[in-house]
């Protein structure tokens, strides 16, 4: 183990390099591009033995990833924003075909107007594609979650996405503990376990009449749900080599808090500071960080929010005509009536810990009674 100063993108590239990836297929898009540049340079220098298909679009990036995965390779791709949206059709396909592709997504706002800055509406719009979604809130998590994503995806036969906020995580340089040889006890060369095999010629994805289609979809739903237990199991294994423990939902602060600040991605780092600010004022506050968004960690969130008086969800995303997506999911799944949603930071707008603390106080004081959009003076 050594420490390198890395942004999230570089951290992901290092993890991919150490994950025995067979095929990379990718297309450039800001702020993801430096991941695939770094991978191209690893391959160019002979430090990584993988094929890199330089496709002509993200639609093809995911399509080529599917082919490579169906032939039994370990496959990685990366994208962001518009690129992820272009992939949408193929994301469904990869998940339906049970292909364990791993993708990094740099969360970026959606045009128009053009924006290259952080927002999670891109990946949350892919909520229903059947992909496992993991959210990193810093470079170390981005690095670690790539290894976990490969193991998880291959174990449950389902693709997995590691998301990190554009620039805030992808480009913020932080010390990252990078594995040496010890990682080989966690991840090794992929076993060839190909859907496509000339000795056993099956047709993948053939037409299914209704009474065949539905059971297959139930099976797919069970597959992705099984990722919850497998993640916990793998997380324990990962902790043994890394001393870092990952949970589907991470909590920090008072157990029976007056207020819980829920956040995903870089917002969680800010919310952590906000919890500390609130604690200084004698308010019992806790952070609830959503690491796994799909499959949805219902029980884990339920446990994390048990006995909490008020819940404030900070969403750096928006479902137009509805509100924050994570808030909606949590309130809906848990049947909670004490949840206030705060849409904030769209298109890379800074969200400060003081703003988060102010809003949380407002919720406790009863001044903030309904969902809100955090914009301008708080």
């Amino acid at each position: 183990m050594k420490r390198l100063v890395l942004g999230g993108n570089d951290a992901v590239a290092y993890a991919v390099k150490q994950s025995y990836v067979d095929v990379v297929s990718a297309y450039p898009i800001t702020p993801q591009t430096s991941i695939i540049e770094k991978i191209a340079s690893f391959i160019g220098k002979g430090e990584m033995d993988a094929r890199f298909i330089k496709v002509e679009s993200e639609h093809s990036a995911m399509a080529a990833a599917m082919g490579a995965s169906a032939a039994g390779g370990r496959v990685f791709t990366a994208t962001s924003s518009q690129g992820l949206l272009l992939m949408h059709e193929v994301l469904h396909w990869a998940a339906g075909a049970s292909l364990p592709i791993v993708m990094a997504n740099a969360n970026r706002a959606i045009a128009p107007p053009w924006s290259i800055w952080a927002e999670q509406t891109d990946s949350l719009s892919q909520r229903d594609t059947g992909w496992i979604q993991l959210y990193a809130s810093n470079s170390q998590e981005a690095y670690d979650l790539v290894f976990l994503a490969f193991r998880l995806a291959e174990r449950v036969k389902n693709p997995a996405m590691v998301c990190m906020d554009g620039f805030l995580v992808t480009h913020t340089k932080e010390p990252v503990a990078v594995f040496g040889e010890e990682i080989n006890s966690f991840i090794s060369k992929k076993e060839t376990n190909a859907l496509l095999d000339v000795e056993n010629p099956i047709a993948v994805g053939a037409l299914a009449f209704p009474n065949v289609y539905m059971p297959l979809k139930i099976e797919q739903n069970n597959r992705i749900f099984s990722a919850k237990n497998v993640f916990d199991h793998l997380s324990n294994e990962f902790e043994r080599i890394s001393k870092r423990k990952y949970n589907q939902v991470y909590t920090y602060g008072e157990d029976k808090a007056d207020v819980a600040l829920v956040a995903m991605g870089s917002n969680a780092e800010t919310a952590h500071l906000a919890v500390e600010l609130l604690a200084k004022d004698g308010i019992k506050a806790k952070l609830v960080k959503v690491v796994m968004f799909r499959p949805f960690p219902k029980e884990e969130l339920s446990k994390a929010l048990e006995g909490v008086e008020k819940v404030v969800v900070f969403d750096r995303n928006i479902s137009m005509g509805k509100g924050g997506i994570v808030k909606d999911e949590i309130a809906g799944a848990l049947g909670l009536g004490n949840v206030i949603g705060v849409v904030c930071g769209l298109g890379g707008v800074d969200v400060s810990e003081t703003d988060m603390a102010k809003v949380s106080r407002g919720v406790l004081d009863g001044k903030v009674k309904d969902d809100m959009i955090l914009w301008g003076e708080v």
Binding site: A63, G67, A71, G72, P201
Partner: protein, 290 residues
Amino acid sequence: MSIPKQEIMQSNHLACPGCGAALAMRLALKALGKNTMVVIPACCWTIINGTHGNNFAGVPVFHTAFATTAAVAAGIKATLEKQGKDDITVMGWAGDGGTFDIGLQALSGAAERNDDIIYVCYDNEAYMNTGIQRSSATPIGAETTTTPSPTVKDRPKKDLMEIVAAHDVPYIASATISYPNDLIKKFEKAKSKRGFKLIHIFSPCPPGHKFPENKTIEISKLAVETGVFLLYEIEDGKYKINKKPKFRELDDYLNAQGRFRNTPEEQREVLKEFIRKRWEKLLIKAENFG
């Protein structure tokens, strides 16, 4: 040469009677053998290959999204190369809609990268699987459900061979099922060459072109004899005409198919002129770059 005896594709498939595309696959797989993997997007072959649990092609098939054939095939090949399985041929098998229209970008990408795949377009000149809508492969003058008479197609068919030729790939060929020896020879050649290969197959469609189901071979032959469909190859940039058309009366071809029943006389003339010019251009290329 003779047609290989081995049958890889199975009978009882779900093609319409007289389907040119079913015969095309049967012949293609005779040439390529069982070490072949096939990528099939939305097209008639989505149905022909059978419902879940079936696989009439007899080799591994990946059914994929409409626009993705060439990219998926490239991905499969990349893994096979990494695994050292160089003896497996990867074939994309798409209709004209999936090739000339929605799949053209992915096709161009794979051709430009020179990915080691065989891309086959079985061209029945319209969206037949959805019920005969015009594609950019539909010939001028043809009636479809989206070009009903009197608004028959008024633009010429896209030139797929020349589009792919512009990518400077090792092998491009046209073929049709009424010349099975020629077709098989081309698949064998494609299999033997590294890099991107395109085979453009003219594939008559009884319900779509509106002719009796026992006339498929005849229509295929007429297309070649009238000069509607030219049989040629572009191997490493060198043009070779495989069959000089007899230039039979175009009306023999048009009148045998209901889709041209409402083609106005002036459009028939435009089509004749189009065929003449295309042949002249091909001759010049064959003479200068043969």
